[in-house]
Amino acid sequence: MGLFMSKGEIVAGCLAPHPPHLVYAENPEQNEPTAEGGWEQLRWGYERLRESLADVEYDAIVLLSPHWQTYIGTHFLGLPKFKSLSVDPVFPNLFRYHYDLDIDVDLARQIHDKAADAGLAVKMMENPDFRVDYGTITTGHMFNPQWDKPLVVLSSNRSRDYYSVEVMQEMMMELGRVTREAILDSGKKVVVIASNSLSHRHFTTESAIPEDMSKEHITSHAMHLWDMRMIEYFRTGQSQRILDEMPEFTEQAIAESDGGGLSWLLSTLDIPNYPGILHGYGTIIGTGNAIVEWPERNHKEGRE
């Protein structure tokens, strides 16, 4: 059928982390708590990312969030609409968000079916009472506060917990490969997003005013060094090195790449060898967070 359709396209891939603190600090009307700002470096980073894509046309956002954790394969939101209240079980004081989002069920099913054909364990999530996780909503809001594009939401298969980073990465490389294939076959223009932090060691205390930026810093020097190493690879197009070092990075920086998002993203982008654009970096309760865009739309030659 591909013959009669225009070819699909990935216009950009993004690393776009989801700590709920960012939505909290933005004070959107959908979120119940209110803040006096905070984490501006990252929020300005998201602003630059939105700006970068403002004139780029696309049809859907495909997103993998580490906070929909599944142990039996990868799941896909499989109903056209989800509307409810998302309360973060870890930071309920910061995040109680009334969401209303649309799903591109066709695209979700296309990726699902290709993954099933490739032998991956997959399942469509079709229970209307299901609540969408706060990671999806935070990244969804920060990336596109108008919520005017449909999403495809993939769960985080915790294969790392069951086996190892290496096995997880193998599965995510395969999932990324079929995700790319399904998108190109779909005829749609798509942004793909991995929603995860880099180093992921939290403070175990919270200051009286959560947005008190005089208290915010990386938890340790080692975490900082790992984050900067990864950012250097992002900025210089060394994706293969990221994948090669994923086991060490994930273990030593307790990185949120354990959810598979970053490996899946790089595979979906066919392991880009062009520079990613760093839109921002900052810490959130001690964890390291980078906002990075790989503008695949500008690097089409030789990538099909």
Binding site: N127, Y162, T204, T219, H221, M223
Partner: protein, 475 residues
């Protein structure tokens, strides 16, 4: 009001199959029957409080306690959403939740209550309350499982909870919502094919259940780290519920245990176990782990003091005092000095005691324990100077015990004490308790006594004594 107590403990599985699909697999059905048997036993025990510690509710900033009196929502499992939805409306004891939160802070724990509409009660708690308390007749509280908490923190969480149970005269039931082995099949299965994921997991589960069936809860607590390594997939929360449950049961090993069911749920080990406080069995233990009363863990994270290793280090009451008090010295040696390895180390250059003729002069003696430098009854403040709840009687007892050790080292006994000067940092609060212990101990020996109020002592203690005693005859 009579003292509150724990009237029973239960271990129950977390996955939603027992609520939504008990008819699809015989084992799930047997777990469901066991839940119903447990519910009946709880009802028969006249319990008036259900306390749920759930491993499927992870937290990062200390522990969280549900304090919404009537949380209502519809729960859908992340993995098993196709089994259906579980609507819930629970009866939460918000007063107990707030009191527990306060008791946690008194014992040095980070803690907060959660009372937001729409807060997602986790699957383990929902399943437990749905099946153990179907008509909501018994008010409940639910506590999270902290991702970073170790044994010290988890044990102190239990003690703080029991502080409130006792103080409020409750008849409480403690429940841990947890899997044994937690490795599930990573592909969908036909319900009739369910079994424990591997023979090794099954053997470990049976060993754990053998211990629990014999009421050996503390043994399972002490094996927690081993169990975690052997049969636990590293999900968000490690195998720590047995620390909490054993803490709730005074770390006893001679409870009366009964395994009501043990079955597989999608490969994981699910069991319903009842532990009755009635004594049975031998009750001996392999060894006693630290009996931690107060959590003195890292509190300066936000100020960037200390490096990574310090941040994650486990800090218990056995922590050397240099983080909460002055450095320790070896006692000085001279011809007439009397020093004892069985007494706490000095905080300056002085001996434990000095002999002059027929008299023995002791340096000020406090309650710190030799070796561990811990303070029975707890320190009076933390490393930041924040006041902590402490027990003056336990401290006074420990002082008398240390005096006894020093005198015995000198060849004498507590009966040799002639004159005592006591120092209290809070006369109003502590004189009564101190005086009671005195009457039971040194009061029976009969030394003269002077009691003074002072502003502070060098270590975080509330009482110190300066003693003059008869010196034992020299050989």
């Amino acid at each position: 009001m009579s003292d509150g107590e724990l009237v029973g403990s239960y271990i129950v599985p977390v996955h939603p199959h027992t609520v939504l699909a008990a008819d699809q697999n015989e084992g799930w059905g047997r777990l469901r029957d066991a839940f119903e048997e447990a519910a009946q036993r709880i009802k028969d025990s006249d319990a008036d409080l259900l306390i749920i510690y759930s491993t499927t509710w992870p937290s990062i900033i200390g522990h969280q306690i549900i304090a919404d009196p009537n949380p209502e929502w519809v729960m859908v499992d992340n993995d098993f959403h196709d089994l259906g939805s579980i609507p819930y409306s629970f009866n939460i004891d918000e007063n107990f939740a707030h009191a527990w939160n306060q008791a946690n802070e008194n014992r040095g724990l980070k803690s907060r209550t959660v009372a937001y509409h729409g807060f997602p009660i986790d699957v383990g708690s929902v399943v437990a309350l749905k099946l153990l308390n179907p008509d909501n007749a018994i008010p409940a509280v639910i506590v999270s499982s902290n991702v970073y908490a170790n044994r010290a923190e988890t044990t102190v969480l239990a003690k703080a909870c029991m502080d409130v149970v006792k103080a409020t005269g409750r008849k409480a039931v403690a429940v841990t919502a947890m899997s044994l082995s937690n490795r599930m099949f990573t592909k969908p299965i036909d319900p009739k094919d369910d079994k424990i994921h591997s023979l090794k997991d099954d053997e470990w589960n049976r060993k754990i259940l053998e211990f629990l069936g014999e009421g050996r809860l503390e043994d399972v607590g002490q094996l927690s780290r081993t169990i975690h390594r052997q049969i636990r997939v590293n999900k968000v929360v490690a195998f720590k519920p047995m620390w909490w449950l054993s803490g709730m049961n005074q770390n006893r090993n001679n409870l009366t245990g009964e395994v009501l069911a043990y079955e597989a749920i999608h490969g994981a080990g699910g069991a319903v176990v009842h532990l009755d406080p009635a004594a049975s069995g031998a009750g001996d233990k392999e060894y006693d782990e630290d009996d931690v009363e107060y959590f003195l863990g890292e509190r300066n994270v936000l100020d960037a003091q200390g490096d990574e290793t310090e941040m994650v280090s486990e800090t218990v009451s056995a922590k050397p005092s240099n983080s909460n008090g002055p450095a320790l010295w070896e006692p000085t040696e001279s011809k007439d000095s009397v020093n004892s390895a069985a007494a706490p180390k000095p905080v300056g250059a002085y001996p434990h005691a000095r002999r002059v003729g027929d008299l023995l002069y002791l340096s000020g003696v406090g309650p710190r324990q030799p070796g561990t430098n811990s303070i029975p009854g707890g320190p009076i403040h933390d490393a930041d100077g924040k006041s902590l709840e402490y027990d003056i009687k336990a401290q006074t007892h420990a002082v008398v015990q240390n005096i006894t050790r020093i005198l015995e080292e000198a060849g004498g006994s507590i009966d040799d004490v002639l004159d005592v000067t006591s120092f209290l940092v809070d006369m109003d609060r502590d004189f009564k308790g101190y005086n009671e212990v005195w009457a039971d101990t040194l009061g029976k020996v009969g030394p003269t006594r002077t009691t003074l109020a002072i502003r502070a002592l060098p270590t975080p203690i509330a009482v110190e004594m300066k003693v003059i005693a008869k010196a034992p005859a020299l050989e």
